[in-house]
């Protein structure tokens, strides 16, 4: 590998040009790469949304979803699992595929399956909406439409029919129907009294509308020279004219539609209310889909807005809320700042150690170039610029420095030996190239297990590992090429000035020329003292090797005793200044009442959060109008009793978690019967929680619904009492109030009516005609077709007697009958939500944690499950899913990765040293590193988490690198004839400076990350802390423990080592 150094020296322009090229491409990539919070998490999901207005959840599940799910399992390949939710009027099936599936063909299969079952489903059902998205599809921006002049239905209309289609052109955006507002439609308000007075049933009205409002072409007629189009007044142009449609003839007079109803621009009963700070509004959510970056989508939307606004009435206000780009930008700049700070700190440190600004300049040029190289390569690999890749680069800063520093330092050392510049560079490079390569290999190998990570964690950490490895490769290459080239130019000048003065292995004291130099000289003197003390201490340790080794091991083992106190989380919590509270009032609470409760809840919230910290509160109450929203939303809303309250805090806010704790403590006591749950609000946790409203999801799966519910309730009560658990709730409710209308079929038959007449009349009365007799009216001015829906206004039918009095007619009966006369009407319970998991009914107990780590709570939950294992109804089983499951998998993969990393490192150095013993000596530094990690996490109160474990794995690589330097030096000394103790002592003393430099570079480089300075920096702080803690102790282990072990294990070899060392580092 030395030839490349020679090339560098002989043809210096080559690598200067290379550097310029890297800088150019790197800069270009940095500008071009999509910027996002996280790497693209490409876990493909297809959602299928069935809609049938008014169908009860149990019927939706039994008559639609089951059929469909069975068909899916037969016709669609590569399904990982399937989940479905059946709500009143909606059925949502989510199909999760194995990663790497060809989503286009899966989508085609899913669509084909829905066509297959269509004929088997209830008559009049329309084909479902099929949506494909992935785990990163989260809301990135919301547009709140409000107006002081326009009614709510106009707001919705503008959102749905004018703004949405225009925004859909923004690349990567997915926009479901607006939330809230009222849906504009041609409403036929039936008047029950008038209908009874006229003897007209709802069915008659519908028949009249479909007979009179036609969408049929007339044709053309050829008259004379022309071919005339013939237009028929089949459908009225003015909506009001529908009022004048004749309904029937009675006693010589014609009864018109207006006599029994009123046709107008109206809205169906509101099922979804959105309020921004108490004012009614319409909310449009823009989700990220596909691979476009969050920032691009938001920019695109914001760029389009002014044009759209021009087409809207001036009184319509469009406000952008919940803009995630702010957070993304802050997070990304935070990481960049961290990297910059790390580079600056490390630069300062190098200046201090090397005492040469020229060397420092060389390194400070090399580091950014290595990063540029990594960026270019990442961009070529299709990665985005995000917290993980940038974090990886920040992480790499320390290692990059190390690589460059070792090279420069070695060149300096050779220069100090009085060599000319070129031989010094060549010798320095030769001496360093193999250890550096081994180090590189070790570090890269350490990241191999990261590529095995599955699930969300894998998608997140793979790009990070890629970034680190690429930066290292870049740095290694540059250290062999650019560094010698630059050294040749820069250090040559330095040599001329200092060479005569240098006689020791490092710079001797010089005359001070400026304060910096003086300071540096002081530092050198100090360092010498440290080295003396170190030498004394090391010889002390070497004097009592057994005591020291045993003592050190005991300390390490004892330190591991702290590990159980650390606690385990999947990812550290991020404080993004948002609280998403899910409120569920008593099942079946009507939306108006839920809205009233939300008012009161908002007041309580405002009492707890100081007004100067509160930005705004957005309520989203009830089920959205469109099933598409159901597919995207994962807050667990199942009916009018549910509300999502999104509380956004100002930048100066106190810790969000403490507000959440206060709210958890206060609200349930103030609102008995209402459950509160705090869901992940920020983009990070939403992505990590992927599709679930809670980190813990205990599922009871099986067909025996009653027994399962009883068991789930029992389980719920036990889980609720577990320490540190919060927001425990059963998602499925079976106590949704229902009015059972039990028609006496014989009696109905006797009076000439059939069940169908009753059903039709009820449907029109209670849910409108849109499902069974769709009819449309075209607004010719705007080109929007509105459904004509005949329905009893809800205010006209608000007690049981009104239901009793629903008139029921058929063509066989002259005077109408009344429902109450034909049927027995009684209240009873019903299911508010039916969920399936892999085509089996499932009940979910959701829970979150408060004040305790997820791992401990999960263990307690598991204990409860074990205790109650005997009570599980036969044929059913219990599963714990959600973050807990993902965490368990990720942890086992990471622990395995940690062990694997150690083994792989060992094997690599065995190859390098051609010995079994020395690599073992080298890796004896690793338990110390682990102990250091435990201590650091313990002292900083950081729980274990995926980033912390990643840090631990990374730490293994760096700790080994230092250890290798030391042991290989000691082997050299032994090869020269020193006894093991002397060799160890010399190795320690002489390698002290590079070891300390490497370790300090890493530690200082990690400091900004460990302090979590940037927005969302909490995410990677444990990584930094783990690396710092691990390195601190690993350095001590490298400097004391490893030499001791070396001396101890090689004690028999004495001054004449039996084995011929094939030292990788030729000595001079």
């Amino acid at each position: 590998m030395l030839w490349i150094v020679q090339v560098a020296l002989r043809r210096p322009y080559t690598f200067i040009v290379l550097a310029i090229v890297i800088a150019l491409f790197g800069g270009l990539s940095a500008l071009r790469m999509p910027t996002d919070i996280f790497p693209n998490i490409n876990i493909p999901v297809v959602s299928v949304v069935w809609t049938y207005t008014g169908l009860l959840p149990s019927d939706m599940s039994g008559r639609v979803i089951y059929y469909y799910e069975r068909t899916l399992s037969a016709q669609v390949a590569d399904i990982e699992h399937m989940e479905s939710e059946s709500l009143s009027g909606y059925g949502v099936v989510k199909i999760f595929f194995h990663p790497g599936v060809n989503i286009a063909s899966s989508l085609a299969q899913v669509t084909a399956a829905s066509q297959t079952v269509l004929k088997l489903l209830p008559p009049g059902i329309t084909p479902p909406v099929v949506l494909s998205y992935n785990a990163s599809s989260v809301p990135v921006l919301q547009l709140a439409l409000s107006s002081d002049k326009l009614p709510q239905m106009r707001l919705f209309d503008y959102g749905q029919n004018f703004i949405r289609p225009q925004l859909a052109t923004v690349e990567g955006s997915a926009i479901p129907s607006p939330y809230g507002g009222k849906i504009l439609q041609a409403q036929v308000d039936l008047d029950q009294r008038a209908m009874q007075a006229e003897g007209v049933s709802a069915e008659d009205v519908l028949r009249a509308i479909s007979a009179q409002n036609l969408i049929l072409p007339a044709g053309d007629e050829k008259i004379g020279d022309f071919d005339w189009n013939v237009a028929l007044n089949a459908s009225p142009i003015q909506l009001d004219h529908l009022n004048d449609l004749p309904l029937k003839k009675a006693n010589g007079t014609v009864i018109y539609l207006r006599d029994v109803s009123y046709v107008h621009h109206g809205f169906p009963p509101q099922t979804n209310i959105v309020r921004v700070d108490g004012g009614k509004a319409v909310l449009m959510t823009i989700l990220k889909s596909g691979t476009a970056s969050t920032l691009k989508i938001i920019e695109g939307v914001k760029a389009l807005l002014p044009r759209i606004e021009k087409g809207l009435p001036p009184s319509l206000k469009v406000d952008a809320v919940g803009d995630q780009s702010v957070f993304v930008k802050a997070a990304v700049t935070g990481v960049i700042r961290e990297a910059g700070m790390a580079a600056a700190l490390v630069g300062g440190m190098i200046l201090l150690f090397l005492g040469s600004w020229r060397s420092t300049v060389v390194i400070l040029i090399e580091i950014p170039l290595a990063m540029m190289f990594a960026l270019t390569a990442l961009s070529a690999l299709g990665e985005t610029m995000n917290v993980m890749t940038l974090g990886g680069l920040a992480l790499a800063v320390g290692i990059l420095v190390d690589d460059g520093t070792v090279t420069i330092e070695n060149i300096n050392w050779h220069l100090d030996q009085g060599k000319a510049i070129e031989p010094a560079i060549l010798d320095g490079a030769r001496q360093i190239v193999v250890p550096a390569f081994v180090t590189l290999l070790c570090l890269c190998i350490v990241f191999v297990p990261m590529f095995q990570l599955g699930g969300v964690a894998g998608y997140l950490f793979r790009p990070m590992a890629e970034a680190v490895v690429l930066a290292l490769i870049g740095s290694f290459t540059l250290s062999r090429t650019l560094v010698p080239t630059m050294a040749r130019y820069l250090l040559a000048g330095q040599q001329e000035k200092h060479a005569p003065e240098s006689h020791t292995e490092q710079q001797a004291p010089r005359r001070s020329r400026n304060p910096l130099k003086r300071f540096q000289q002081g530092f050198e003197a100090g360092f010498e003292k440290v080295r003396d003390v170190y030498r004394a201490l090391l010889s002390l340790a070497l004097g009592h090797p057994r005591t020291f080794i045993a003592g050190f091991l005991i300390c390490v083992v004892l330190s591991f005793g702290l590990a159980p106190f650390l606690g385990e989380n999947f990812f550290p919590a991020v404080d993004a200044g948002q609280i998403l509270m899910h409120v569920r009032a008593q099942p079946g609470t009507r939306i108006e009442e839920t809205a009233r409760q939300c008012d009161l809840i908002e007041q309580s919230v405002r009492r707890i959060i100081p007004p100067d910290q509160l930005h705004n509160i957005v309520d989203n109450i009830g089920l959205p109008f469109s099933g598409i929203n159901m597919a995207y939303a994962n807050t667990g809303t199942i009916g009018p009793e549910d509300a999502d309250v999104l509380i956004s805090l100002n930048a100066n806010h106190g810790p969000t978690a403490s507000f959440v704790k206060q709210l958890r403590g206060t609200l349930p006591g103030q609102f008995p019967g209402t459950t509160f749950a705090f869901l992940p609000a920020d983009i990070t946790s939403q992505i990590l929680n992927f599709g679930l409203p809670a980190p813990i999801d205990v599922q009871v799966i099986g067909n025996n619904e009653d027994a399962n519910y009883a068991y789930a309730t029992d389980l719920y009560k036990r889980i609720r009492r577990l320490s540190g658990i919060a927001d425990t709730r059963i998602q499925q409710t079976f106590s949704y109030p229902q009015i059972n209308v039990d028609v006496d079929r014989s009696l109905a038959r006797l009076v000439g009516l059939s069940q169908r007449d009753v059903a039709d009349s009820l449907l029109v009365t209670l849910s409108g005609s849109s499902q069974i007799k769709p009819n449309f009216w075209l607004d010719t001015r705007t080109g929007v077709s509105y459904p004509i829906v005949a329905q009893m206004p809800q205010y006209r039918i608000d007690n049981l007697s009104d239901l009793d009095n629903v008139p029921i007619t058929s063509s066989h009966t002259r005077s109408p009958q009344f429902l109450g006369g034909l049927a027995n009407i009684e209240p009873g319970p019903s299911a508010g939500l039916v969920s399936h998991y892999d085509v089996e009914p499932v009940m979910d107990i959701y829970a979150a944690v408060q004040g305790r780590d997820l791992g401990a709570v999960a263990r307690d939950v598991q204990r409860v499950l074990n205790q109650t294992a005997k009570k599980v109804p036969p044929g059913s089983y219990v599963a714990v899913r959600g973050q807990v499951q993902t965490m368990k998998t990720a942890y086992s993969q990471l622990y395995f990765g940690l062990a694997g990393a150690i083994v792989l490192i060992y094997l690599v150095i065995v190859v390098n040293f051609q010995s079994w013993t020395d690599p073992f000596i080298i890796i004896t530094a690793l338990p110390g590193a682990l102990a250091g990690i435990v201590w650091m996490l313990f002292l900083t109160g950081t729980t274990l988490s995926v980033p912390a474990l990643t840090g631990a794995i990374m730490c293994m690589g760096i700790a080994t690198a230092n250890s290798i330097l030391l042991v290989s030096f000691a082997r050299e000394r032994m090869g020269e004839g020193a006894d093991s103790t002397a060799a160890a002592l010399d190795a320690g003393t002489i390698r002290l400076r590079p070891v300390l430099m490497t370790a300090l570079a890493m530690i200082i480089g990690m400091l900004p990350m460990a302090f979590a300075l940037g927005e969302g920096g909490e995410q990677n702080a444990p990584l930094g802390r783990a690396v710092i803690g691990g390195l601190l102790v690993a350095t001590i282990a490298t400097l004391f423990f490893v030499p001791s072990v070396f001396a101890f294990l090689h004690r028999r070899h004495g001054a004449n080592p039996a084995e011929t060392t094939s030292s990788p580092r030729p000595t001079e």
Binding site: F565, P672, Y736, G820, L822, Q850, R1051
Partner: protein, 410 residues
């Protein structure tokens, strides 16, 4: 260990006893520091865990609010559609053919009994009367002629009978007698003719009376289906009535009560009427009678109610929503609907025991009234009923209580 190494170690050992002392001190300090830090960390974590456990315990106990059942109203309401009819209502037809000469009352007019509503022009009837009268006069004249003839025959006969025998022949005498008898019979016939003609005249004169159409009772003209000059045919077979008069001082309301709901409907039951045209007004009515038979075609019971109509707001033929006030059970209690537990196996409510222990009770519901519900049995007026019970609430669970509210009045 080699000798050199040992030497070196000794060198290390002996060279710096101060270092060793410092080292020992540092070691002890480090151990104390480490143990201290570990202890503080562990104790802190333990304390935190205890706090969390207490917090969870506190949070795990559900908080509920309670309500006290209120006495329910004595009645429950049954709402059905009905039709309003007049107390009396008569369609008025003509008895005579003719043309309408004039009418005097229009729609909505108040009329007294016997008031002239209209007159009919009947020229043919008038002519017939005149003819009959003529015939009567002529018959009367015939009686005079017959009388004179009879008297003449009598005198002739008397004269002949009084003549001495032989002066007149027996034959002649018998002939005169016969003449006399015949004259008497003619007279009688003529008199009879007069009576007959008189009868005819009387009949026609009575028909003349029907030319005047008269109100049969006090009431309102609800229909006038004719006009001046209209051809009038006698009887109800042809065309609409001329007038319709309704007595609306009190109204009759007819309701078809479905068989299923007919149990409590008896005469004397109070009811209120709601009319679409008076949305804010109600009218009282009382069930007068029922048909006591279910109509087979529609399986309904016809119920008749009476309602006073002093101002005339109730109008004939109106649709009315009839709210029957049925008697409810004596000890009906009323709780908010939100206190009901909808569970499989019947409706329940959760009642709070003395030590805040939950007790689940089956309840039998009366009629659901919307916000509140009538409970027929299962709870007592002193019970503390949990309002908005949590879904998972179970028998024997101990709960916290925040406050008591009363069901909202409806």
């Amino acid at each position: 260990m080699t000798a050199e190494a040992r030497k070196m170690n000794r060198h290390g050992d002996t060279a710096s006893p101060r270092l060793r002392r410092n080292l020992r001190l540092a070691g002890v300090a480090a151990i104390i520091l480490a143990v201290g830090a570990a202890a503080i960390g562990i104790v802190g974590r333990h304390r935190n865990e205890t706090q969390v456990r207490q917090w969870t315990e506190k949070e795990a106990t559900p908080t509920v609010s309670t309500v006290t059942p209120q006495r329910g109203p004595a009645t429950r309401t049954l709402i059905l559609p009905g039709t309003i009819q007049a107390w009396y209502e008569a369609p008025i037809y003509a008895r005579v053919d003719g043309y309408l000469k004039n009418w005097y009352y229009d729609y909505g007019a108040q009329v007294k009994k016997g008031a002239l509503l209209a007159e009919i022009d009947t020229p043919d009837l008038d002519a017939a009367l005149a003819a009959a009268k003529g015939r009567l006069n002529s018959a009367k004249s015939v009686v005079g002629v017959r009388q004179a003839q009879m008297e003449f025959a009598k005198t002739t006969y008397d004269r002949w009978r009084g003549s001495p025998r032989g002066v007149v022949s027996i034959q002649e005498l018998e002939s005169k007698k016969a003449d006399y008898r015949s004259a008497v019979a003619d007279l009688t016939a003529a008199i009879a003719n007069v009576t007959a003609d008189q009868g005819n005249v009387d009949r026609l004169e009575a028909l003349e009376g029907f030319k005047r159409i008269i109100a049969p009772f006090d009431g309102i003209v609800t229909a006038r289906e004719t006009d001046i000059g209209a051809l009038i045919n006698a009887g109800s077979g042809h065309g609409p009535e001329l007038f319709r008069v309704a007595d609306v001082h009190e109204m009759r309301i007819y309701v078809d009560v479905p068989q299923q709901m007919s149990a409590g409907v008896k005469s004397g039951l109070p009811a209120t009427l709601h009319l679409p045209q008076y949305p804010r007004k109600t009218f009282t009515a009382t069930v007068a009678t029922t048909s006591q038979a279910i109509q087979q075609a529609s399986r309904t019971l016809l119920v008749e109610l009476h309602a006073d109509n002093p101002v005339g707001e109730l109008q004939v033929g109106s649709y009315a929503e009839v709210h029957f006030h049925l008697e409810a059970g004596a000890d009906v209690l009323r709780i908010p609907t939100s206190a009901l537990l909808f569970r499989k196996g019947g409706l329940k409510v959760a009642v709070l025991g003395p030590d805040n222990k939950v007790e689940l009770r089956h309840v039998e519901l009366g009629r659901d009234l919307g916000t509140n519900v009538d409970v027929l049995s299962g709870i007592s007026p002193t019970d503390r009923v949990i309002n908005h019970p949590p879904d998972s609430l179970a028998e024997g669970e101990i709960v916290n209580v925040t406050g008591e509210s009363h069901p909202p009045p409806d």
